[in-house]
Symmetry: C2
Subunit: 285 residues, 2 copies
């Protein structure tokens, strides 16, 4: 489930779906969607096949097809635009194509990534930033796209799952020396009612001691979205894992802990990776 | 109300208290708290006087006295420790006092502040950090306290109010050239149910274009605590107001907007202070 995060968090998403009565079929290929006005449970029938070739049939009122994103470059290619990663339009950090006075932005262009260089990672936030930069530079400006970290969050019923930066295999492929450590923290002090556990996965580089990515899973009221943004802001600045503990973050028992969950995650990484600063002890609950 | 934030946000806190039936008396000095087992509404009677000398009497079951914090330095002074700001124990950034091999941390010591230099700002998060650094250095370490930003959050019934960094008068007193801009943003896309408005106050330095402080008020489920932490992390790194818009932060309609509220606040500051980058337009709702 949700292969954009590690399988441990994908399993959490799966459990949340199951708890709400959602049947999840993986390894199943949709062969046909047929409109059947005489259908048993609705007007549509989905015919699929399992990996073993077995037939799978489900009936539905609505079918959502979520098949990923590919860059639409037809017009650009006809005009002579060069393409880059995954066939997206090649642009520099000013969002300029190889064509004079032609700028491009959004899901059709390559993505400049702060840790990966050029990649293809279309997201709404990225498109907003690129669009402003392209527009400003079209008017004579000189702004640069500062780069994506692939920060994203998804709400799944009562839970949220978020990530920023790189996962272990992505970091390894990019030439880092990563290790990924799982940990947990409370969203706020457990003695105050309504606390939730947050599952944390921290990927850091053993060579530099820098966090490269973080993934969080927890209740939608556990401020998961904005917690990943703290990690994104720290990674944006290439902070070391130790330095993340230096950040002066807010605390009140109903809303947090003296060490923020993001700091607990990076401290767990420091301990378990063997790169902990002396004296970095386990913070008390 | 709550003079640690600007009066506009203090008024929001006042309104939330009033909405929950809390009577707020300001300009009123408590003269006596008397145990009265025959009291009308409880066992305690509070006698106070208004600024005009009028007598004010209230009955209560419980009286909480919240009178602020002063450093307790008796033992340290007897041992010869030098004192600093507001009579707190003077320590360097390694938490060393002037006495050989004596380190100090917590509410009894001065606070090294990233924007103010030495001040006195006792907070639990700060004490946790100072304590680790003092402990590590006592064991032969060489760690420095990176400095406070005075980041804090308070929950008030269903709302939360938070701040980081400096307010206008604090920035001016510290030699900056501040301007403070109020703005509002949604915690998430208004078309998705349950969105809340967030009141934002951004203090920035006209000379450098850097944010110096931010204050937020909004619903306890509007991720106020962790949003102020994004601002705290940006200010920790001395980002410019324009550069805050470069941060790659998370977005999904039920949990955010393509431009995070903190970015909307700094963009509003850029526009209204006259220091906006060209092309930094009002983001759509």
């Amino acid at each position: 489930m949700l292969p954009t995060v590690d399988s441990q968090l994908g399993a959490c998403v799966h459990a949340e779906l199951a708890a709400h009565g959602v049947e999840v079929l993986v390894g199943t290929r949709v062969e046909a969607i047929i409109r059947t006005t005489t259908g048993q449970a609705g007007q549509l029938t989905v015919q699929a096949s399992g990996v073993d070739g077995s037939a799978v049939t489900r009936h539905a009122d609505i079918v959502l097809v979520v098949a990923g994103v590919r860059p639409e470059t037809t017009v650009a290619v006809r005009a002579g635009a060069a393409l880059g990663v995954k066939g997206a339009i090649a642009v520099d950090e000013q969002m300029r194509t190889n064509l004079p006075d032609v700028l491009a932005a959004g899901d059709c262009v390559i993505t400049h990534h702060r840790l990966l260089g050029q990649t293809y990672l279309p997201l709404g936030t990225t498109a907003h930033k690129q669009g402003r930069i392209a527009g400003e530079n079209a008017l004579g400006g000189n702004r640069l796209f500062a780069g994506s970290l692939g920060t994203q969050v998804v709400k799944v019923f009562d839970q949220a799952v978020a990530r920023t930066g790189l996962r272990d295999h992505e970091a390894r492929a990019a030439g880092f020396d990563p290790v990924t450590i799982g940990s947990e923290a409370d969203d706020h002090k457990v003695y105050y009612p309504g606390s939730h556990r947050i599952a944390i996965r921290t990927t850091g580089d053993r060579t530099t001691g820098r966090p490269l990515g973080m993934q969080l899973f927890g209740h939608r009221h556990a401020e998961i979205a904005k917690r990943i943004d703290i990690a994104a802001t720290a990674i944006f600045h290439h902070m070391s894992v130790d330095a993340v503990s230096d950040l002066d973050l807010s605390y009140t028992p109903p809303l947090g802990s003296p060490w923020e969950a993001v700091q607990m995650g990076t401290q767990a990484w420091g301990r378990e990776s063997g790169r902990a600063a002396p004296g970095t002890a386990l913070a008390s609950r």
